[in-house]
Amino acid sequence: MSDALIISIYVFVLATFVGVEVISKVPPLLHTPLMSGSNAISGITLVGSLIAAGEGHGGVSVVLGTIAVVLATINVVGGFLVTDRMLRMFRAGGGRKSGGAS
């Protein structure tokens, strides 16, 4: 096993613990934005897609990489935007604010 793999396994295991610590503190109130936001973060595969799409020798992997860039970009842009759209709606001010459609 290469050193790089060992380091990757370390990173993977430690990231699991960070994930559990951080995510379990998110209140149920925000679970939908959590899902869409974390969904956008999982679009990080875009980084790998970019390299595959840009290697420039015209092979099949470039075609696949380009499709992956499209899909991952939808994932990233759509995910962050829709999360922002939702979070913008969350407002404090119980009791004083009057409701109603806008």
């Binding site: 793999l5 994930g19 936001g37 969904n39 956008a40 790998g48 840009g54 099949v60 970009t73 404090a92």
Partner: protein, 470 residues
């Protein structure tokens, strides 16, 4: 990877973690999302500086097309359609992971064409991570598509069941894994990755079709987790730690949400995935005993609400179906102006995905400090004058507490029956998803008002306005 790029990736990973951390409070959540988006932008920009990238034409085209489609989806989606959108985006993430991992296999094999293999020596560990990445990514893509189709109504949401379903899925998974092992032993067998993709596609479909529409929140959460795992596996393929960190964060997030959803329904994950709940919808013992409900008019309801000191509103998905969130908040505001203490009690499975009801109410301008999660409000019902149940059913069914043969048994419920008065606004007496008759409706303290939620609430608001004027 140059040290500068590696450090930039680390900064990106830290932004993701900080962003998720800031989701722990509604005050900081929006800024947290921006932090995470900044991290993503940074990761993309430094990747473009990578020396391996020689040709930017396809990249730019892909970014433009994907960016445009992403904006379109995000801007146009309705809040009720959020579960489908998240499902679809999960699927895209999974597909991207599959494509990247397979492209890496082609690159390692010489990349002249799909069928040739000119590489002398390929790291077996890399090949095994490619197999896992391709497998998980493809299952995520097809599973998410089916889930989104069911949620969007383009596919029947009832479970699709056939004999030996579990066994067939197990065989599919085992076959994919065996093929994976074969590929690790002989990386030049070019057709194996394609076969794994094919099997995973079938598995993605067959593992989601037996799940009913009401259980989709679990599937969406699980797919969220898979899409993260697929990303993490791709990180192993490319030895890229930012992919591993982000993918793992998302993987744990999805798993935690899956667990929360299962607990809120008192079901095991296996039961959700395999039991096909909702298929054999049999109203057992129906009409065995004649029970009567007491029917009230909106006038009675308005009078009761106005004279209450405290009201807890229990919204269910029926509220969103009737598009009545806004008028409900008008009613709540009218009551609050009269000094009534109004809060909303949110069951974890209210809506079609984790936390969905909060988003639907936030859209209707309900301040989030009025939205109280189940565990924090359940003890307050006994000191509350009115529990107002709108479009919810199973989550307030007392049978869940004691009726051992009920499909609801053991599920945590909101204690609407412990309030001094329960008002239930409902279309009809039809049972909920679980098919269990709701005895809350037959209690003496319960006031039933039948009709469309929006129409009923609108007339309540009108009556309150009138009584203010007079």
């Amino acid at each position: 990877m140059s040290p500068a790029i590696a450090i930039a990736y680390l900064v990106a990973a830290v932004s993701f973690i900080l962003g998720l951390k800031m989701l722990s409070s509604a005050r900081t959540a929006r800024r947290g999302n921006l932090y995470a988006a900044f991290g993503m932008l940074l990761a993309i920009v430094v990747t473009l500086l990578d020396q391996r990238i020689l040709d930017f034409r396809y990249i730019v085209a892909g970014l433009v097309v994907g960016g445009f489609a992403g904006v379109l989806l995000a801007v146009r989606v309705q809040m009720t359609g959020m579960p489908q959108l998240v499902g679809l985006l999960n699927g895209f993430g999974g597909a991207a992971s599959t494509l990247v991992a397979y492209a890496e296999y082609l690159r390692l094999s010489g990349d002249a064409s799909i069928t040739s293999f000119s590489a002398a020596d390929v790291d077996q560990v890399v090949v095994s991570t490619i197999v896992l990445s391709v497998l998980i990514g493809t299952v995520t893509f097809f599973g998410s598509l089916v889930a989104a189709a069911k949620l969007h109504g383009v596919m029947r949401s009832a479970p699709i069941l056939y004999p030996m379903q579990k066994q067939i899925n197990a065989v599919l998974l085992a076959a994919a894994l065996v093929l994976g092992v074969m590929l690790v032993a002989a990386p030049s067998l070019w057709y194996i990755p394609l076969a794994v993709i094919g099997l995973a596609a079938v598995l993605g479909v067959t593992s989601v079709i037996p799940v009913g529409g009401a259980d989709m929140p679990v599937v969406i959460s699980l797919m969220n987790s898979y899409s993260g795992l697929a990303g993490a596996m791709t990180g192993f393929v490319l030895s890229n730690n930012v992919l591993i960190i982000s993918g793992t964060l998302v993987g744990t997030s999805g798993l935690i949400l899956t667990d929360i959803m299962c607990k809120a329904m008192n079901r095991s994950l296996a039961n959700v995935l395999f039991a096909g709940v909702g298929a054999d919808y049999s109203p057992e013992e129906a009409a065995a005993e004649q029970k009567t409900v007491i029917r009230y008019t909106p006038e009675d309801i308005a009078y009761t609400l106005e004279n209450a000191e405290s009201v807890i509103i229990i919204p269910g998905y029926g509220l969103a179906v009737a598009q009545a969130q806004h008028v409900l908040q008008e009613l709540a505001s009218a009551l609050m102006r009269r000094g009534v203490n109004v809060r909303y009690a949110i069951h974890p499975v209210a809506g079609r995905m984790p936390g969905h009801m909060n988003v639907l109410l936030a859209e209707a301008n309900v301040p989030y400090d009025l939205l109280v999660e189940m565990d924090r409000i359940n003890d307050d019902f006994q000191n509350t004058d009115v529990a107002l149940v709108i479009g919810a059913n199973d989550v307030v069914n007392p049978a869940a507490r004691y009726k051992k043969n009920s499909p609801l048994y053991g599920m945590p419920i909101l204690n609407a029956d412990r309030a001094r008065t329960a008002i239930v606004c409902k279309r009809s007496l039809n049972p909920g998803f679980a098919g269990e008759d709701n005895e809350l409706f037959y209690l003496k303290k319960t006031m039933m008002v039948f009709g469309d939620a929006k129409a009923t609430l609108t007339s309540l608001v009108a009556m309150m306005r009138k009584s203010v004027d007079s």
